[in-house]
């Protein structure tokens, strides 16, 4: 028995065997082998530390049985959660992230709901100690999800189409012209962890191909306008960069075309280009010359082809012959880095690092990441990551305040609100500030229009700039008008939506949709004289509603000083506001400044959620359990760095899933 236990490749196998062996000793060795086989199949590898762990079966499960299974069991599985399917510690470890949520909800007194018998303090502590004492199987950190370690695993699209931002920024970086052609493109949805970078949800339809072709013409029109006398300095520079700089004195036209096309292709394709590829592109040049057209007219055709080529419009990662996990080559890593941090293509320095084979070394990569974060192009993280993460993309289009009720909400205010969020985030990463400033900061970014809206004096002009704030209500994302608009209805605020936003967007918690409204008993008539708060409190007297609304509504009450367009107020409809909130955990607060302190106490939850989102953005897919190692590493690095955010970007860039790929044959 002991021998079997030690030889088993998994300590969970051993654990299971031992706990069973007390009840069914005759079958113990078989159990060991079965469990070992099962765990090997599930991909849970041996961890070095010894020690049996029967706590789950013997101590935790009985608690769950008493308090949880009635709603989260086989019969009823509220929130799609059936806890009875977790029979062993190995099962729990297999879905570690889910259990993190389960234990987190228990610790916050959010579960069981307050209408049900509560866990004794000792039981709560036991569950918490058990869960935090579980080893995480560190060997998983050098694995990627595949058929062997995740059953029914099907891959993700990783060699994806570029996003519209990547298209615009690439055109800008190729030509120096910031034309933003994607404004004419049909827009994309999101996938994975909620970002446009998710390869699976980036579709290419006929309209888009037509627009790519039109855009290529527009871009080349602007480039070639650079040789006209009335060209703008930017156009002149673009013509020089793309066309004339490639043509040395006395060079034959076709030779010049070869250089020009080769150079654009090399940069646009984000890799070295073989001579035959360039020669192939020149098959579009030759017939135009043959019909007697001028050099530049002929040159346009292969340049156009580069701009609609799949090598430019996709981020292809061709796979090796053999199946299995392999490391991406240096150019592919450079491409992933440039997409991640700049939403663009690699610059000259990153490309030359790749050429020299320098991107195999973690320190070089970290150095590149730090350099890239300081580059102005890192603003893309504010536009593409932060706006999507904070759910601010609908601002002004589908999230639009009622124009009669809020006539002050106009296009210039909308722009300033969006810009505040983008610049705040960009400034944070460019200066390696603490991630916690997203929750609470002493400053924000304003122009005159927005400062007037917020009631901050002394800001003049249309330029956005950093402004120190007089109090601690406004600083951080919770004080941003953009957030307040997207979490309001057109005519009024919604403490429910705001509370939900805080839980989901900042803390990564989930709030299931409400039960079918038809099944809800009316909780007494609300009257017009009641405040919004009173009506919501009445609503929460129904136990069906209370479970979630006890978590959401108090957070929203704390933000009621911000109206539906983000202006500061102390009364609503003539009645003074009550901005006090009390959470199921017993924490209470009054107003935004105190609410932020409550959130700061949950900073590791916030940090872990932030890392998950950023990793999902970088990888362009949703996360699986193998990615949890990266999350843990990054959160630890954050803690060690006093939450200065740069380490997260480094941790992701050097992580296993960022640098490796699984070739499935």
């Amino acid at each position: 028995m002991e021998t079997n236990g030690r030889d088993a490749p998994s300590r969970y196998g051993a654990t299971r065997a031992r706990s069973r062996s007390t009840t069914r000793p005759t079958r113990s060795w078989k159990t060991v082998l079965l469990a070992a086989a099962a765990t090997a199949f599930l991909g849970v590898r041996a961890a070095a530390e010894p020690g049996p762990d029967a706590t789950y079966e013997e101590k935790v499960q009985p608690i769950l049985e008493r308090h949880c299974y009635a709603c989260h069991g086989k019969e009823k599985h509220k929130a799609d959660l059936d806890l009875t399917r977790f029979k062993t510690t190995a099962d729990v470890l297999h879905e570690h992230a889910l259990w993190k949520t389960v234990v987190g909800r228990i610790n916050l007194h959010e579960m069981p709901p307050k209408s049900k018998p509560q866990l004794a303090h000792g039981d709560m502590e036991l569950v918490d100690r058990w869960f935090n004492g579980l080893p995480k199987g560190k060997s998983d950190c050098n694995e990627l999800a595949n058929d062997e370690n995740l059953r029914w695993y099907r891959g993700f699209v990783l060699g994806r189409r570029i996003t519209h931002s990547e298209y615009d920024n690439s055109i800008r970086d190729l030509t120096g012209l910031d034309l933003k052609p994607s404004r004419a493109f049909p827009d994309d949805g999101s996938g994975g962890e909620g970002f446009h970078t998710a390869g699976n949800s980036l579709y290419t339809s006929t309209i888009l191909i037509e627009r790519y072709l039109e855009s290529a013409d527009r871009v080349l029109d602007a480039v070639f306008r650079g040789r006209e006398p009335d060209a703008s300095p930017a156009e002149r520079e673009a013509f020089h960069r793309v066309v004339s700089a490639q043509r040395a004195e006395g060079m034959e036209p076709r030779e010049a075309a070869r250089k020009c096309v080769g150079e654009l292709a090399r940069r646009a394709f984000r890799r070295p280009v073989r001579p035959e590829e360039v020669e192939r592109l020149l098959t579009l040049y030759d017939p135009v010359i043959a019909r007697g057209a001028a050099y530049e007219e002929a040159l346009r055709q292969p340049l156009r082809a580069v701009l609609v080529s799949p090598h430019f419009l996709f981020l292809p990662e061709p796979e090796p012959e053999a199946a299995g996990v392999y490391r991406l080559d240096d150019f592919q890593i450079a491409t992933r880095l440039a997409s991640f941090i700049w939403s663009s293509l690699p610059d000259a320095e990153l490309s030359s690092r790749a050429e020299q084979g320098g991107l195999r070394d973690a320190e070089t990569i970290r150095g590149e990441v730090r350099r890239m974060l300081r580059d102005p192009k890192a603003r893309a993280l504010g536009e593409d990551f932060a706006l999507a993460w904070l759910e601010l993309e609908p601002l002004g289009s589908t999230a639009r305040p009622d124009p009669q009720r809020f006539p002050e909400f106009d296009a210039s205010l909308e722009r300033a609100l969006r810009e505040e969020a983008v610049q705040f985030f960009h400034d944070l990463i460019a200066n390696d500030r603490s991630l916690l400033e997203l929750i609470d900061s002493k400053y924000t970014f304003l122009n005159e229009r927005l400062a007037r809206h917020y009631g901050v004096p002394g800001v003049e002009g249309v330029e956005m700039r950093r402004v120190e704030l007089p109090d601690r209500n406004r600083g951080g994302v919770l004080g941003m008008g953009a957030v307040q608009v997207v979490t309001s209805f057109p005519t009024r605020t919604s403490p429910v939506l705001r509370g939900k936003w805080v839980l989901e967007t900042l803390l990564g918690s989930r709030v299931p949709p409400p039960p079918q409204a038809a099944s809800l008993a009316e909780a007494g008539a609300a009257t017009a004289e009641q405040t919004l708060r009173q009506r919501l409190e009445l609503h929460r007297t129904q136990p069906e509603c209370a479970t979630c609304h006890d978590r959401m509504d108090p957070l929203g009450f704390g933000l009621e000083n911000f109206d539906a367009v983000g202006k500061w107020r102390t009364s609503d409809g003539g009645q003074p506001l009550d901005v006090h909130g009390k959470l199921p955990s017993g924490e209470d607060f009054s107003g935004a400044a105190e609410l932020k302190q409550v959130l700061l106490a949950r900073k590791d939850e916030f940090a872990a959620h932030f890392v998950r989102k950023l990793l999902g953005y970088a990888l362009g897919r949703d996360l699986n359990r193998f990615d949890e190692c990266v999350v843990d590493d990054a959160v630890k690095a954050l803690r060690d760095a006093d939450y200065r955010c740069g380490v997260v970007f480094e941790a992701i860039a050097v992580s296993f899933p960022f640098q490796n790929r699984h070739a499935k044959k």
Partner: protein
């Protein structure tokens, strides 16, 4: 407001805005084609008159538009109390007015495959497929089957310059709904070229117009010129080259990445086909009375600020596309699902979020505005139908030769109920639809039965579609009232 019926050929010295042109029959009768053809949408041949077929007159083709509105309906104001002809018009359908004889009201139709899943996404994405929507935040998006419009486009789309037209008003909803486990993009697409590939929708009226009619700014010259022919040659060579590149690249990619390159290749081929369309003899036998629109009927550039204006411009474009036989299949989304659009500026006393009103909780303060919003959408349908009825074609009107499906993906918004869906079908589908009645189907009749009947009238019948059990009978059922 200028008269909507003003015709281009009756233009007097009164200044007429572009909007009026588009709102009129919108077509320059017999005028030469003036638009400059862009290099890609360029047409070596304009819509030259094809040799006329001797003998019997050729019937106008049947066209199909599917219009979706979000968030369901307040049923007491929607479903007529009696079946058959001569029903009492419920308040939400009143804007149809005299058009009620052109419209079939359908009740009792269900989308059984939406009884599972979340409240919205699992119901809207399959509005036109009728099959289950896969729960996913983005990986392996799947709506079970091709949508009914795309089935028709795949079969008859080659007969027109554009196989189909997909229009909407709002940008695609971004993000995922991690609580229900669906990507929100499901709420923004009803047209699916394959079960896994939604079709991009155009939301800018001007761009949609230019895509249809190729008006791309002056200076490109005569489309029949040698220069235009050279352009088409250049385009063809270029598209062939990138297509070949894509094929080579595809061979070196992993399985999942290949699917995405397939989408690229399919779309490049579709662009090629569009260029080829004009290089071949025109396959269309029937010739619309109207020629191509002139450049000055184009809608204004930029996004219309006003929602009503935006919706009507999009509906105008569908009418214009049908009238000129530029396509025979179109879809339109008044808004994405879960839309919180505020109708305060359009309907007096209805300030607030559409989605919020749809969760009416049985309270009059919510269902009254909700019903008014439903009614507003019906009014926009009436606007479109009015225009279609005014366009004469052969022995009838454009509306007689069309089917305009108008509906939502669940019935009661409070319960997200996918049964007894609110569905209207306008037009006579070429002749035999007995419009003007309320067809109350027995409970659990699949919505897809209606789709089978529609596809049949598009001249390309199917035995089954989605979860259909049989074709829905759209012909006469009760005593026919005299038409007004």
């Amino acid at each position: 407001m200028p008269a909507r019926s003003s015709r281009i050929d009756s233009v007097s010295s009164r200044p007429i805005s572009r909007r009026t042109f588009l709102r009129g029959t919108g077509v320059a009768l017999g005028l030469p084609i003036l638009e400059a053809m862009g290099p890609i949408l360029g047409r070596p041949h304009a819509l030259a008159a094809a040799p006329s077929t001797p003998g019997a007159p050729i019937r106008p083709p049947v066209r199909m538009a599917c219009l979706y509105f979000p968030n369901g309906v307040w049923q007491p104001s929607w479903i007529p109390k009696q079946a058959g002809f001569g029903y009492d018009v419920p308040p939400s359908l009143e804007p149809l007015g005299a058009l009620r004889d052109e419209v079939t009201v359908l009740s009792g139709l269900d989308k059984a495959n939406s009884r599972q899943g979340d409240g919205h996404y699992a119901k809207t994405a399959n509005f036109l497929t009728g099959l289950p929507v896969r729960k996913t935040t983005g990986k392996e998006v799947d709506v079970g089957g091709i949508s009914i419009d795309q089935l028709c486009a795949a079969r008859i789309g080659g007969l027109t310059p554009l196989p189909s037209l997909e229009l909407a008003v709002d940008p695609v909803i971004t993000g995922i709904d991690s609580n229900v486990g669906y990507t929100r993009l499901y709420g923004s697409y009803i047209s699916w070229r394959t079960p896994t590939t939604p079709l991009a929708r155009e939301i800018h009226p001007r761009r949609a117009y230019e895509r249809l009619f190729g008006v791309r700014g002056a200076g490109a010259g005569d489309p029949r010129s040698a220069i235009a022919a050279q352009r088409s040659d250049d385009d063809r060579r270029l598209l062939d080259l990138v297509l070949e590149d894509a094929q080579h690249l595809r061979d070196r990619l992993g399985r999942d990445d290949r699917q995405k390159l397939d989408e690229y290749m399919d779309s490049v081929r579709a662009v090629e086909q569009r260029i080829e369309f004009y290089a071949r003899p025109d396959p269309r036998e029937w010739k619309p009375a109207a020629g191509e629109p002139t450049a000055d009927v184009a809608p204004p550039a930029g996004a219309p600020g006003d929602h009503c204006e935006h919706v009507r411009l999009m509906l105008d474009l569908i009418v214009l596309a049908f009238q000129t036989d530029s396509t025979r299949v179109a879809t339109f989304m008044f808004a994405n699902d879960v839309s919180g659009k505020n109708f305060g500026a359009l309907i007096p006393g209805v300030s607030g979020s559409h989605h919020e009103f749809s969760h009416h909780e049985g309270k009059a303060e919510k269902y009254e505005p909700y019903a008014k919003i439903n009614r507003w959408h019906v009014a926009q349908l009436a606007y479109m139908l009015e225009r279609m009825r005014a366009i004469r074609e052969g022995d009838g009107s454009l509306l007689d030769h069309s089917m305009v499906l108008f509906g939502s993906s669940f019935s009661d918004g409070n319960r997200h109920d996918p049964n007894n869906l609110p569905i209207l079908l306008a037009g006579r589908g070429g002749g035999d639809i007995a419009a003007g009645q309320h067809i109350a189907s027995p409970p659990n009749t699949p919505l897809c039965n209606l789709y089978v009947s529609m596809v049949e009238r598009m001249g390309t019948p199917v035995e089954r579609f989605g979860d259909s059990t049989e074709a829905l009978d759209l012909r006469s059922r009760g005593p026919r009232r005299a038409r007004v």
